[in-house]
């Protein structure tokens, strides 16, 4: 899929969906595995692929210059410090030739390649000296990003409540919208109605019509249209036991229904190069190899205590 995206460079959402359908048409087990992995049967195949490609920094969706579709990002070696040495992850566009060049350039270092059914091959390098990683990028002709997760977090706005100066939003008009309210206790969505949405002093409401999802935060009696994750973390501000960090395993976990904002999740994923794993038993997403410093920074941006 990543080769196809890299060859096409950019395109519409429809093209992406069709390609996802066609390329994964030869594998009948893919969808079943995906549903098992995420525990979410309602989520379409293309949506799951989008999330994975986006958090692995291979492709941008609905961002600037690709508002109605996707665009592949330039190939980059994303580096971050480890307890011992540095680790680099190959992100962005990829051609078969580029893949070979990068692996050949990093032969002398510890190169790890993980074949996965769900996501493009994860290619990582580990080195004691950062200049060795920089040399790989130089030889392969790709970009080099130092402290990638930290740099990303440094430019992401925190999930602050909307200020009084912020312009209010209006709920969409029409009877066909399916309205649901986020339950901050169960972290689930329950059916609501328009009157409830209009009168609630505080709350997060989802308006869905076909494949359009809109999220509205009611805050101090006012209505604001926000990205889902941002609105959710404002709603759950300073919630106890939402984020859990294990210093031994260096893992950060959070409820499956509380995915963080896109860029913040990308920073967490770039610590390991793997998308979060979902545990159906605990219904939580787990991000691996997250340094405590990064986990703390992420928690600060989400306004959550780190348990």
């Amino acid at each position: 899929m990543l080769f196809w995206l890299s060859a096409r460079r950019e395109g519409s959402w429809r093209q992406f969906r069709a390609a996802a359908e066609e390329i994964h048409s030869t594998d009948n087990d893919f969808e079943a595995n995906e549903a098992f992995r995420t525990g979410d049967d309602e989520f379409g195949l293309h949506q799951r692929l989008r999330l994975d490609l986006e958090c692995l920094a291979h492709v941008e969706f609905f961002a600037s210059s690709c508002e109605e579709g996707w665009r592949v990002t330039p190939p980059t070696l994303a580096v971050h410090p480890m307890p011992i040495g540095f680790r680099a992850i190959l992100c962005g566009a990829r051609s078969p030739a580029l893949r070979e060049r990068v692996i050949r350039a990093g032969q002398t270092l510890g190169c790890e390649t993980f074949d996965s059914l769900d996501v493009p091959d994860v290619i990582r390098f580990i080195a004691n000296d950062i200049s060795a990683l920089s040399e790989i990028a130089s030889q392969a002709g790709i970009r080099f990003q130092l402290n990638a997760p930290f740099a990303m977090l440094s430019h992401i706005p925190p999930c602050d409540p909307p200020t009084s100066r912020r312009t209010q939003s209006e709920f969409p008009v029409g009877k066909d919208w399916r309205i649901r309210e986020f339950d901050s206790v169960t972290f689930g969505w329950r059916t609501a109605n328009r009157q409830r949405a209009q009168t609630a002093d505080t709350g997060l409401f989802e308006f869905q019509l076909y494949d359009r999802w809109n999220y509205f935060l009611r805050w101090a009696g006012r209505t604001f249209k926000l990205p889902r994750a941002v609105a959710l973390y404002i709603r759950l501000s300073h919630h106890r036991d939402l984020l859990r960090y294990d210093t031994q395993t260096r893992t950060l976990s959070l409820p499956g229904s509380c995915r963080p904002p896109r860029m913040l999740e990308r920073a967490l994923v770039l610590c390991s190069g793997f998308p979060p794993s979902f545990d159906p038993a605990t219904v939580r997403l787990t991000y691996t190899d997250v340094p405590h410093e990064i986990a703390r920074f992420a928690a600060e941006l989400l306004h959550q205590p780190l348990a």
């Binding site: 060859a7 941008e60 330039p74 980059t76 030739a97 925190p158």
Partner: protein, 663 residues
């Protein structure tokens, strides 16, 4: 009186006088003080009274203002309520109007739908009548043909009889003559004449259509808009616009983990002139279709699959100028081929089995034995059969898995549903898998597998670019150089197709995909300045936000965002920072405040050069002052090696000289 007495008297007088004077002064002072205190007390009381009066006035004023505000808010509330009521009334009126319009529209649509249905019914009826008429005509023709044949037979028989009689008569006449001659001739000559008159049976002309041609199986769905071959998917969808268009609903079956049926869906056809999204009405109610590709809308999960498959599904949609109708003909048997042929995952319904391809078959329960027999006839190994106890299999249906026919079977009766289980012998190419970039173009390194279905005769040959191609382990054909970059010609039988393989251009660009207003933007894993300047990125302690470079004037103050408390921050700096100094109040007593070395770079050699190059004295002053200040406070270094301490001293020396020159 002695002088002593006089002196004593004088002293006593003076003492008394002074005592009296002092007492008077004290009384006067006391009186004055008392008067002052009284004045002050009065002044304070007046002031307090004044303040109290002001406060009371203010309270009264506030109360008045509040009352006015309440009055105003009440008026506004009343006005708002009135406006709201008016708005509601207006909206209600609008709604009623809209409802009336919608009702009228609905009625009109229903009428139009009824008309179209009536039209369709009339068409169907006309078709049926035409068919009946055609059938009657065919029957009549057949009857006439039979009668003609019988007449001809009778005629032939009559002619034959006549001929035989004539021959017999002739024979009798000849025999009589011969008898007469025999009587006259000798015995030998009489025997020869008898041998030459042996009667031979008449030659029968070959009957035409003695062996009937195999009837063509016609699926109940409308004709396909796309060809089976992936390479021809796009071309097949181009159709001539018509006012009423019948389209196909293809059944899509996706297996899940553990062999269950994960989904049964209907994939509606799409054509060029059709909108990206469309509302359709059908037996399942209203459905919203979203386009997946140019030739297909997104599959829609099939509700009540058991009945729907049996009775068929019909959806109707309406565009600006045309009517569309999607049909899945109800039947008791569905053949599903690998979906990758159609660009869909799972298995997708097709007209009949393909030779040497893996299929799934859905059949009504009552057809179990017939299906198994037909599959055996087609050379399928015994398939795995699942019934409705397997999750996802529709009630009343059986699912046959791993159906791979290996023998072509001729079709039988035209109306035999089992014809779909009799694979044809025609050879069709299939380009399966790979990474397809365009219609006939794949990414080099990821070519499609080239397979054929049909019955291969002994002389069946495949060539790719004039090289004979041979099947490999997975049944796909390969030839030397078949997967090299460029255009290739595939030749088989008397047909040819082309496919191309191309490499990709690696000119991917960086762009500001996510700009959160911090002066830098994120694109993939990259974080870059918005102005395009290639500044350096450094990670510094949140306490050491003053960055110093090697050359005087290279000084940068990092910004920390409010509300986010982190141990370190990332800064993007226009020069190579050497030292990170604390910005807070510097004190040697605070052991946590330290000078951090970021990169070991010697300071600029001569201050004069720096000054000539730099016009900004202020930056140079700040540079020198910051270093001198940190040294004056005797801040400790984070890394106290001799090398680092020596470097720090050299920076101090440069800063000192620069400070003197600038002073």
């Amino acid at each position: 009186m002695t002088p002593l007495t006089i002196i004593f008297a004088l002293l006593a007088t003076a003492a008394i006088g002074s005592w009296i004077f002092i007492r008077r002064n004290r009384a006067r002072n006391f009186a004055e003080q008392k008067a002052r205190e009284e004045n002050e007390r009065i002044a304070v009381e007046r002031k307090l009274a004044h303040e109290k009066a002001i406060a009371e006035a203010k309270v009264q004023d506030d109360a008045r203002l509040q009352a006015e505000a309440e009055k105003r808010s009440l008026e506004m509330a009343v006005a708002t309520e009135n406006a709201r009521l008016a708005e509601e009334q207006r909206l209600a009126a609008d709604n009623e109007k809209r409802n009336a319009e919608a009702e009228a529209k609905r009625l009109a649509e229903e009428k139009a739908l009824a008309e179209s249905q009536a039209h369709a019914a009339a068409l169907l009826k006309a078709e049926a009548e035409a068919k009946q008429q055609a059938d009657a005509e065919a029957r009549e023709k057949e009857r006439l043909a039979v009668e003609e044949a019988e007449r001809a037979k009778k005629n032939r028989e009559t002619e034959e009889h006549t001929r035989l009689e004539a021959e017999a008569r002739e024979k009798a006449q000849i025999a009589a003559e011969q008898e007469a001659r025999r009587k006259a001739d000798n015995n030998v000559r009489e025997e020869k004449t008898a041998d030459a008159t042996v009667i031979k049976p008449p030659l029968q002309p070959p009957e035409e259509n003695e062996k009937p041609c195999p009837p063509i199986y016609r699926p109940t769905a409308p004709p396909a808009t796309t060809a089976r071959s992936r390479a021809r998917v796009q071309t097949g969808s181009r159709t001539t616009p018509t006012s009423n268009i019948d389209l196909r609903l293809r059944l899509q079956l996706v297996f899940g983990r553990g062999g269950v049926v994960r989904s049964l869906a209907l994939a509606p056809d799409r054509r060029d002139e059709m909108p990206n999204e469309i509302e359709v009405i059908g037996t399942q109610g209203e459905i919203h279709l979203t386009d997946l590709r140019d030739d297909c809308y997104e599959p829609v999960t099939l509700a009540d699959a058991g009945n729907a498959l049996l009775q068929g599904v019909e959806w109707r949609g309406r565009g600006d100028a045309r009517h569309w109708r999607w049909i899945l003909g109800g039947r008791e048997l569905y053949v599903l081929a690998p979906g990758d042929e159609f660009g869909l995952h799972g298995f997708v319904s097709t007209a009949r089995l393909w030779l040497n391809a893996r299929h799934a078959v859905l059949a009504a329960k009552r057809l179990r034995e017939a299906v198994l027999a037909a599959l055996a006839e087609a050379g399928c190994p015994t398939p795995e059969v699942s019934d409705e106890t397997t999750p996802g299999v529709p009630t009343g249906w059986l699912l046959f898995r791993d159906v791979t026919p290996t023998r072509a079977v001729p079709m039988r009766d035209d109306r035999d549903i089992l014809n779909s289980l009799r694979p044809a012998h025609e050879i069709e190419p299939h380009f399966v898998g790979g990474i397809r970039l365009e219609r006939n173009t794949w990414l080099a390194g990821f070519p499609p597998r080239i397979r054929f279905t049909g019955e291969f005769a002994n002389g069946f040959q495949v060539k790719i670019d004039d090289h004979p191609a041979q099947p490999v382990n997975d049944g796909a054909f390969e030839a030397p150089g078949w997967n090299s970059e460029g255009e290739h010609l595939l030749w088989f039988g008397d047909r040819a197709e082309t496919y191309s393989l191309c490499t990709m251009d690696e000119a991917w660009e960086n762009w500001p995909a996510h700009d959160f207003g911090t002066g830098a933007a994120i694109c993939g894993a990259n974080t870059n300045r918005l102005d395009g300047a290639r500044w350096r990125q450094v990670c510094v302690p949140a306490s050491n936000l003053l960055l110093i470079g090697a050359r005087p004037g290279e000084i940068f103050r990092c910004r920390v965002r409010n509300g986010v408390n982190t141990g370190r921050i990332i800064a993007v700096v226009p020069f190579a920072p050497v030292w990170a100094l604390p910005m807070d109040r510097l004190s040697k007593k605070n052991s946590l405040i330290r000078v951090e070395l970021l990169e070991f770079i010697e300071p600029a050699k001569t201050v004069e050069q720096t000054l000539r190059k730099r016009n900004n004295d202020s930056a140079c002053r700040q540079w020198a002052f910051s270093i001198r200040n940190a040294r004056r406070k005797q801040l400790t270094l984070a890394v106290e090696s001799e090398e680092v301490m020596s470097l720090w001293r050299r920076y101090g020396g440069v800063a000192k000289r620069l400070w003197r020159q600038l002073r």
